[in-house]
């Protein structure tokens, strides 16, 4: 479990997060949304001790992120994927990129090969292992960055707007991969501006002005029009359609959140 207990953070005089209390359970798929400057990225960097709170406490499986001796373990347990994969690459081949992290945590050399290959296989990039990272597409680069994290055997993977710079194909491939990883038991924490991506989560958290202003199942959060309007958000089209239909007297079951599901429901219920 990842726990934030009354956490505050500021850059200089500017408070970015105010008294955040939050628990993220193992196996969750948590999506964090909110306007630019709401503190989402700061929250993600606090999760693996990249930055430290000035008030409060963050525990990663009971390890305090403020104890320097815990950081190595915490960064292995909580993997962070950023917006621009190019900022993260340092090696000359895809394979070396994945190996690099393993060397840092002193994995036995004879085990490295198989760990790295397994990780690349999981993200569908094994056949690219000898390719130079700069020759890959954006989505492929992001998948290599994910493989490098997977090789460290994390429990929690934080995606900080990891689809924002990708073309539609890249976006889709990363979303699909995120869901596979969640199905395999990884805890996923996903920060995004794309509302339709947020629908895939088990829980959505809305951050604004450094505080949590709403949280719950995606359907519930998006059905709350006040939350949407007050936080610079938008309602995904399937939920807009449901809203319009219900105004017209056609009620679609709550759990249906895809266009396919809604249109099929109307088709079959008549």
């Amino acid at each position: 479990m990842l726990t934030f207990d009354n956490v505050s953070f500021a850059y200089g005089q500017q408070a970015v997060l105010k008294n955040i209390s939050l628990q993220i359970m193992e196996g969750e798929f948590l999506t964090i949304i909110g306007p630019n400057g709401s503190g989402k990225s700061t929250l993600s960097k606090l999760m693996n001790g990249l930055i430290q709170p000035y008030l409060g406490q963050i525990l990663v499986d009971r390890l305090d992120t403020q104890s320097p001796q815990n950081l190595k373990e915490i960064r292995q347990i909580v993997g962070l994927i950023f917006q621009n994969p190019e900022d993260q690459f340092i090696s000359t081949t895809v394979f070396d990129e994945v190996i690099f992290g393993l060397e840092n945590i002193a994995v036995e050399p004879d085990k490295m090969q198989s760990i790295a290959e397994d990780a690349l296989k999981k993200v569908g990039m094994l056949s690219y292992k000898d390719v130079e990272p700069h020759k890959l597409s954006g989505g492929q680069k992001q998948r290599v960055a994910i493989a490098a994290i997977l090789a460290m055997k994390p429990k929690y993977i934080v995606f900080d707007e990891s689809t924002a710079m990708l073309d539609p194909n890249g976006q889709k491939s990363i979303m699909t991969l995120m869901q596979h990883l969640h199905d395999e038991g990884f805890t996923i924490i996903h920060i995004t501006h794309l509302m339709e991506e947020a629908l895939k989560a088990t829980r959505v958290l809305v951050l604004n002005g450094g505080v949590i202003v709403a949280e719950g199942a995606p359907v519930d959060v998006f059905h709350n029009s006040r939350v949407i309007e007050n936080n610079e958000l938008d309602v995904p089209l399937p939920l807009k359609l449901k809203g319009r239909l219900s105004e017209a007297g056609i009620v679609v079951p709550k759990q249906l959140v895809t266009l396919e599901g809604i249109v099929d429901y109307i088709w079959t219920s008549n």
Partner: protein, 292 residues
């Protein structure tokens, strides 16, 4: 200002022999007053095309015609910046560098030799147009929010009074309302030009393409594969688009699902979400009884 490309190719200079053509034999027309959206996978040649249209690079083959005239190239065949074309790069707020918003706004026209009074007049109009106010003039760019910075950065380009405005992924990284504001302000700027202002809009977000485009230009592997109106393109060519790694807007997905399930095609005059929602819901309710 009409911009026409005739068999335009561009090959990036390279020291090795493996120099490659970024774009190949493009033939297309950017017509005055239209909103053209340009889509294509990363690496399909979109950015190269934008640089050509601004005159930052010159075609290595073919001709670029402005109002029927070939773009004057200097004697060495170097590129010549086209003043009438304004280019908003990706993450343009990284290029704000003055100490105040007002100085950033004035920088471009000042360099073009525009008179002080004229610059003053323009700043007042443009700051309102981007949804801010004169109260922002004395603020330092770093004091602004991400969305505000982006709008100021776009304003600095509008200050130079372009006839053609190119925007390269102008909403990347912005929250949904921030993105909507950008699209709206570009739309307002275009409308205020009385049909003389052209918008060339590069994006990966198909839902944004659905909002305002008159035409969509699809690039794949350095070539233009479609130039069509959005309704025809997304409704008729979704399979081809998929093959190019592209998607269709959510509003078109809804129309297609409806068509597939109910065997009825709904004609729409726009792909805007609001328009499509209204049409579809009307079918489910008013005409729904005969339909079901």
């Amino acid at each position: 200002m009409d911009i026409k490309l005739e068999n335009v190719s561009y090959k990036y200079p390279s020291l090795s022999n493996d120099s490659w053509e970024s774009i190949r034999e493009l033939n297309c027309m950017f017509e005055t007053g239209k909103w053209l959206s340009v889509i294509g996978q990363t690496g399909s040649g979109k950015s190269t095309l934008m640089k050509l249209l601004k005159g930052l690079i010159a075609p290595t083959a073919g001709r670029l015609l402005i109002n029927g005239q070939e773009n004057k190239l200097s004697k060495k065949g170097n590129a010549q910046i086209i003043q009438e074309v304004g280019l908003v790069f990706q993450y343009p707020e990284h290029q704000l560098f003055e100490t105040t918003v007002l100085k950033d706004l004035a920088f471009g026209p000042k360099n073009q030799g525009v008179k002080k009074e004229e610059i003053n007049d323009r700043t007042k109009v443009i700051i309102e147009l981007v949804g801010l106010s004169e109260a922002y003039f004395d603020k330092a760019p770093f004091e602004l929010s991400g969305g505000e910075k982006r709008r100021v950065a776009i304003a600095t380009v509008l200050m130079m009074n372009p006839e053609v405005l190119i925007l390269d992924e102008p909403t990347a990284g912005l929250d949904p309302q921030g993105s909507k504001l950008i699209l709206q302000l570009v739309h307002d700027w275009q409308k205020a030009g009385g049909g003389q202002r052209t918008v060339i809009f590069v994006t990966h977000q198909m839902n944004e393409v659905a909002e305002y485009s008159d035409e969509v230009l699809v690039m794949n592997d350095g070539e233009i594969v479609f130039q069509e109106n959005p309704i025809a393109l997304f409704r008729e060519h979704d399979h081809e688009l998929k093959a190019f790694g592209l998607d269709i807007p959510d509003s078109v997905k809804l129309l297609k699902l409806f068509e597939h399930r109910f065997g009825k095609r709904i004609e729409v005059h726009s792909l805007q979400e609001e328009v499509v929602l209204e049409e579809v819901v009307a079918y489910f309710t008013k005409q729904g009884d005969d339909l079901l």
